[in-house]
């Protein structure tokens, strides 16, 4: 996609929606650039689906404005919006063949028959389902149904494609293939994709940009790398990937960052960053793969001694929990590349943990 077209294509301004006493979406402002593959990520109940349904026109915001391609869509019914949606359940019409499903939107526009047929064939080619065009949904596998749903949503060339948990109903292997396929298709059609998911791996694997939502609010927006490397708060750090969070009070500002007195560990930790007042309570987030594990005391500024509590082998990497003297567990991820200088790990073995100040992220909220 071109980075040149960076003006916001979809804009949400202070959008809010309540269901009874609960605020499903609370004062959300968000910009999505044209041609982006944008992910809305959050745990279930965070309001991401409500936001998607407001964009599709199925829910009316209580407050705020939604602009799609510069036009306020307030009062525009779903059938007149320049958006199409791929439903989590796919919502394929059971009494229609795959081809009829894909052609449904085109038939609503009363296009000539030949134009509809050509477009349907092109869409089925795009998702590689031409040979199953005459099958009914119940005669298709889960993955095939998913692709019919995608083809149907793309057939009308919407300005914005909304995808509600597009991969949730697929098994793991198929999910990975389909994720790549979605990215490939998005590049080919050039339509702005907005995908809602609760799966951070899925979001990071597909999206060019993403927004993390919690309790009706957008808590952070950025590229997947931004969000993973520089989470803005404890919630994001914890929700995206594995993390070790150490709480403490700022005691000193140094050249390489700030020193934090971590009561839980009974020792000081150093983390890169600044702009925090001495005495304030902060947290340090350290990704498990950024922590070095060694038999001898580490030379790094942050070092902790402990014993291996348990090891779980995951193939490409192993996850090791190290118990500190205080009882606190620290998670470390070790890539299984067959290094020889590593201590032979087994539960109970004494090890040292170490990480550089830049490996941690200073969190104030």
């Amino acid at each position: 996609m071109s980075e040149a077209a960076a003006q916001p294509f979809v804009r949400l301004e202070g959008v809010a929606k309540r269901f009874g006493a609960t605020a499903a979406v609370d004062d959300v402002s968000l910009s999505i650039e044209r041609g982006a593959f944008f992910a809305l990520l959050g745990p279930s109940g965070c309001g991401k689906t409500t936001l998607l349904r407001m964009l599709a026109g199925f829910e009316v915001p209580d407050r705020g404005r939604i602009l799609i391609d510069g036009a306020d869509v307030a009062g525009v019914p779903p059938y007149a919006r320049p958006t199409n949606m791929m439903f989590q359940s796919y919502a394929l019409f059971p009494h229609m063949s795959a081809a009829e499903n894909v052609g449904f939107g085109l038939r609503q526009e009363r296009l000539p028959r030949a134009a509809i047929d050509a477009r349907v064939a092109a869409m089925l080619d795009l998702v590689q389902l031409r040979h199953l065009a005459q099958r009914r949904p119940h005669q298709l596998s889960g993955g095939e149904r998913q692709r019919v749903a995608l083809a149907r949503a793309l057939a009308k060339e919407p300005k914005l494609l909304l995808l509600d948990e597009p991969l949730a109903a697929l098994d793991r292997k198929l999910r990975e293939e389909t994720r790549l396929e979605l990215v490939r298709i998005q590049h080919r059609v050039g339509i702005t994709f907005l995908v809602v998911t609760h799966d951070q791996e899925e979001a990071m694997g597909m999206a060019s940009r993403m927004a993390v939502m919690s309790k009706g609010h957008v808590v952070q927006v950025g590229t997947p790398a931004d969000i993973y490397e520089r989470p803005s708060c404890r919630f994001v750090a914890d929700f995206i990937g594995g993390v070790n969070l150490f709480e403490g009070r700022v005691v000193e500002t140094r050249a390489d960052g700030v020193a934090i007195d971590c009561a839980e560990l009974d020792q000081r930790l150093v983390v890169a960053g600044g702009g925090v007042a001495i005495g304030s309570t902060v947290a340090i987030a350290v990704r498990p793969e950024r922590i070095e594990l060694s038999a001898a005391p580490s030379a790094l500024p942050n070092r902790l001694a402990g014993r291996v509590a348990d090891i779980s082998y995951r193939g490409e990497a192993s996850s090791v929990n190290v118990a500190l003297a205080t009882g606190r567990l620290v998670r470390v991820t070790l890539p299984n590349v067959g290094r020889t200088d590593e201590p032979r790990l087994a539960p109970g073995i004494a090890v040292w943990l170490g990480w550089a100040p830049e490996a941690g992220v200073l969190l104030t909220s």
Binding site: G57, F58, P78, F87, F93, F104
Partner: protein
């Protein structure tokens, strides 16, 4: 091990036995009588096998069926019954579909109450309810009195003992049979399909025609059959609410049986009606099985 297949056979045989005893056997008896001749006596018809002579002889006759064809009363009654039944089915469908739809889309807590209101009339005798309609529709009945006292009409409207009152009775009596299967069908409908249709550009009316209606077709068919078939043979409603010129086959059958004591003719009317009804049923089943294929 010997007992199990036998037990299974007994379980399978039970419904067939029931059907054989209470559906096929009476039907066979009616069929038999329809080929006999009417006589004065007990029973009031001739036997099919004449055992009076040296050798038993077939004594059946198609006389009753010949009369069905030659006497215009019968086929006019059939046509008129089918007309009433078709009209009733159409009106029930037009009234029942929105009702069933509204109940199916009502909040869950409301649905049971609304369904109860549909079924509630069944708790009173059908006959009583039809009599109640007489009270409502007659010349100095509730409706006419209200209309006259409001000054909307100068003299009572002819609401009773005509085809209008027959339709009122039929629609009133059979509406629940349309609403219930339609509700059962619509309740199972996945409403996200309607959202999908709207999302793809279908206005509500188009979404209804292209998604809701085809998917509720089995309910439409079941409801229509449940209304049409008993309505064709209806006797009580035309008898009580109809007029002298109301012609329905159920009434003809009654007259043959109880007024004329012509059992063979009555039986022939019944057999012909059954054959006539089997046809739309077979067609409906055909279209339904095609739908699900």
């Amino acid at each position: 091990m010997m007992g199990r297949p036998w037990g299974r056979g007994a379980v399978i045989a039970a419904p067939y036995l029931w059907l054989g005893l209470f559906a096929l056997l009476p039907l066979a008896i009616v069929l038999k009588i329809s080929f006999a001749e009417s006589v004065l006596g007990i029973p009031p018809y001739t036997p099919l096998i004449d055992t009076g002579g040296d050798t038993p002889e077939w004594a059946g006759t198609l006389e009753s069926y010949r009369r069905l064809i030659s006497d215009s009363l019968y086929w006019r009654a059939y046509l008129s019954s089918i007309g009433y039944a078709a009209g009733t089915t159409a009106i029930c469908l037009l009234l029942g579909y929105p009702m069933a739809y509204a109940i199916a889309r009502a909040p869950k807590a409301w649905r049971v109450t609304l369904l109860m209101m549909v079924i509630l009339p069944f708790w009173t005798s059908f006959l009583l309810r039809v009599y109640a309609w007489i009270g409502l529709l007659k010349g100095n009945g509730f409706i006419n009195n209200a209309l006259v006292s409001l000054g909307l009409v100068s003299e009572p409207l002819p609401l009773l003992n005509n085809s209008f009152s027959v339709y009122v009775g039929l629609v009133y009596g059979y509406l629940p049979f349309m609403v219930l299967p339609l509700y059962a069908q619509l309740e199972r409908l996945d409403w996200t399909l309607l959202e999908a249709a709207a999302d793809l550009g279908a206005r509500p009316w188009r979404a209804f025609l292209s998604v809701t209606l085809p998917l509720s077709w089995p309910g439409v068919a079941a409801g229509s059959l449940l209304v049409f078939i008993p309505a064709v043979g209806e006797f009580v409603i035309p008898e009580l609410l109809g007029g002298p010129d109301t012609l329905m086959i159920g009434k003809v059958l009654w007259d043959e049986f109880f007024e004329n004591h012509d059992w063979p003719a009555a039986s022939a009317v019944a057999v012909a009606m059954l054959a006539l009804l089997a046809l739309p049923m077979a067609l409906m089943r055909r279209s339904l099985s095609e739908e699900s294929a």
